[in-house]
Symmetry: C3
Subunit: 346 residues, 3 copies
């Protein structure tokens, strides 16, 4: 049975100002367009305001400017989107397995696991590893030698963390993520590559979320470090010795090459790529699909994407792009002829 | 021992018109250039037609237009490439483990597994999950609480499916795929991100193939949905609340951002990227490496790729591209000077 | 306790010329800027030469040209970067688990595992598989039927190798890598896709490193092949029937489409993409983020990346790029008007 809350109870938990019947009982959260009786909805962007007229929600969450836009029972708050996140969490508390180590898990001698934590079926914890209080180690997950995991952290099923890494408190790591694999370090020696052993680790702060199949490599000599509150989507690649600053959020399929430094409060769009050995300042937003090749000092948005077109039109534009050098030369000729003829150029 | 078939038996199973000796025995399928005696080959594209003269295959599969292009024993059919697929399947029936639950698998109380299905070593099936008839759950795979898997579906080794998802009949999911991880939903609250619990699921139709290390996130409030007959290659990222229409095929490394709607019978090329909250109509083909930022209503092909060149030449073109605004201004000046001098512009 | 070596011992193991006190004892390797007493550092690039003056390292590794740039105890050699790799390896020998099969591993009857090899917890080795001498099969890893692994090869935790593949000697495969999943082969049959069973395998040479979550698909009819000494970073996708030549190195997030042939001694940058059915000659360097659509015969560097800019500036340039066809026409008009007016074009 999912829990239900009255509007009054919701406001008692999460704050905000309640307008309308405090006894309305809420069962779930839903978008304005699909909400039904017993559900609460929210208005986070002005452009959806007309949906308030037609919604079947029993109540809505609104910003202060929109509090008169409906007569429905409503919660008025500063940040309706964050409030909505809170209500979803209140109504849908996360599933938590009972503490304890599953009989099929393999915990090496000398590993420490807090009594309040759970280790799922077929999970493996190597010697010297330490799992803090209230952690969940998912089925099939692997925690390498001497790796330390803080309290309240969850590894979903089939996560891999190599030896000698540190994960903070209240982190969530999704399935298939790999933390601490060797950085890609090879020295050319004649025709062959000599592997450079990667002896650094990975240090991850508190309140970090790491998406499915994301990879974070261990450092060559020093550590790879991920700050507090960083949010990483799926299939992100973070190379050795990268630093990611606090509260930076990175969308899926992005890649950060070795030793790059990403500042705080940045956003990197999906499939964006950052060169190695460069620095991205705080408060920088890189658009999806953009490759950043040079350090960025100025906050703001940066983009580098070839604008798509119909294939036929692209063929023509791409061909012109290849002739751009020629075009510059032709314009120069036109300009110099003009000069010779006594015409003025502005 | 692999099975062998005479041409007559093949035609009896798969149809088509047989020309030449029906008793020729076929052991395997091979390309025209490398086929040897006992093997059948196929001509699916006109440009390989001269290879018919030199092939050592014992028989060939041809379209109707090419039926006189060789005197070899041959099967004439409407779609030689699809026919070839059928013959490969006939000669190479998939390996199927015996039904039953491996002693090292962990099946929670209250999970339902059909007797005809098999659960491999170290696999984990959580409470409330249901596995239909004739399924194969690979070694180390994980099926979360209350997830329902149809009949005839195979999860290869080390697949992860979170709780509350639905997978249809006759699907194939390759190793490392993760279905149902949390969508990337965070609400900014001052400097920090508040996680938006993802309470939707993932619903996958029938006859879907999902490649290795592909990730499909669960919905925020509603479900992420993948239609019937969809084919997904490796390392694809499908974000929360995406819809993919029936029979759409997506090549490796593509990404689809949150709430995008992809139509039916589309193809998305490798490493193509689709913005969130846009709609792609049916029958659209997106080229490899292309980022689509706006909804597409018209069927057809779309491309947006920077044409590569030698690095030296690229340096020059890229530099010109940055000066394009200036070039437009210079041409405008030339045009206006011309106007002032009484010249006509077309 | 980590091992320590005197400079004299290091030179005895790895060669090079020692200048200064041979008894200086070295505990670890560190960058010039952060090294402390007891550590050795290295100068691999001329641009860091001034750091020699301020380093606190107890010794340094230098090339012949720089041997007089410091009075610190130093090892002079031809290739300081490769030498550094050797010293790191000497001081940090890899951890090797004891030989033997963990009680929780599942080894099928008819699998062969050399006595000197180890099979970790919850690993699964299927029938007919063969594991050579001194291998390490990590926890939760899966080796399919009839797959053959050479000697001295390590699979880290949670690696998946399908049936019928061959991995050479001294390879390293990182967690989450999937080798031998089905290639993406589908034949259109009306509206639906017919799967083309993938009956080739994957053949991987000696001394190959395969990064975390990298995928290498099995061939359709023939094998996918990776040469000796190839180095693959994380999250690379290699499609069916690709060939990668010896000593080629590929950075993270790159993708190679079906049947492409990559030569020897190439480098492919991060997130570069190679079309299917094309050939890349030996000694070619593809830049990060570049999509190669045509075969390349000439050695050298190739690039195709849209140069990023501030978002505002990009909006303008991208808009101009779309108008490029028009600009070419306008320049042509200017040129022809000029001709008509008797002006000379160079």
């Amino acid at each position: 049975m999912p829990k239900t809350f009255t509007l009054n109870e919701i406001v008692r938990h999460l704050g905000g100002e309640l307008l309308g019947d405090p006894k309305v009982r809420i069962r779930q959260v839903a978008p304005l367009q699909t909400a039904i009786a017993g559900e609460i909805s929210f208005l986070a962007q002005q452009r959806y305001i007309e949906q308030l007229q037609s919604t079947h929600a029993s109540a809505v969450i609104l910003g202060k400017g929109a509090q008169d836009a409906t007569t429905l029972p409503r919660i008025v708050c500063d940040n309706p989107y964050a409030y909505y996140a809170g209500v979803v969490g209140l109504l849908n508390p996360p599933f938590k397995p009972d503490p304890g180590i599953h009989r099929s898990a393999v915990v090496a001698d000398g590993a420490h696991i807090a009594q309040s934590s759970s280790v799922g079926p077929s999970a493996v914890i190597e010697a010297g590893a330490s799992i803090g209080e209230n952690c969940v180690i998912g089925a099939g997950s692997y925690v390498g030698r001497d790796t330390v995991i803080g309290s309240g952290t969850e590894l979903h099923a089939n996560v891999t963390i190599y030896h000698g890494c540190r994960i903070g408190d209240r982190c969530t790591v999704h399935s298939g993520a790999v933390i601490g694999a060797d950085g890609f370090g090879n020295a050319k020696d004649g025709d062959v590559w000599r592997k450079i052993p990667q002896i650094g680790g990975v240090v991850i702060g508190d309140d970090v979320e790491i998406g499915a199949n994301t990879t974070i490599d261990r450092g060559a000599l020093d550590d790879t470090t991920i700050g507090n509150g960083v949010k990483l989507d799926n299939q992100i690649q973070i190379a050795h010795n990268v630093t990611v600053g606090d509260n930076t959020a990175i969308a899926a399929c992005a890649g950060i090459a070795g030793s790059a430094k990403i500042g705080k409060n940045c956003t990197l769009g999906g499939a964006s790529m950052i060169y190695g050995h460069i620095s991205i300042a705080d408060n920088i937003n890189v658009s999806a699909g953009t490759l950043i090749m040079k350090s960025l000092d100025e906050p703001g948005g940066y983009t580098g994407v070839y604008p798509f077109a119909s294939h036929q039109r692209w063929l023509k534009t791409a061909s012109h792009l290849r002739q751009l050098d020629d075009l510059f030369k032709r314009v120069r000729v036109l300009e110099s002829n003009k000069d010779k003829n006594g015409n003025q150029t502005s």
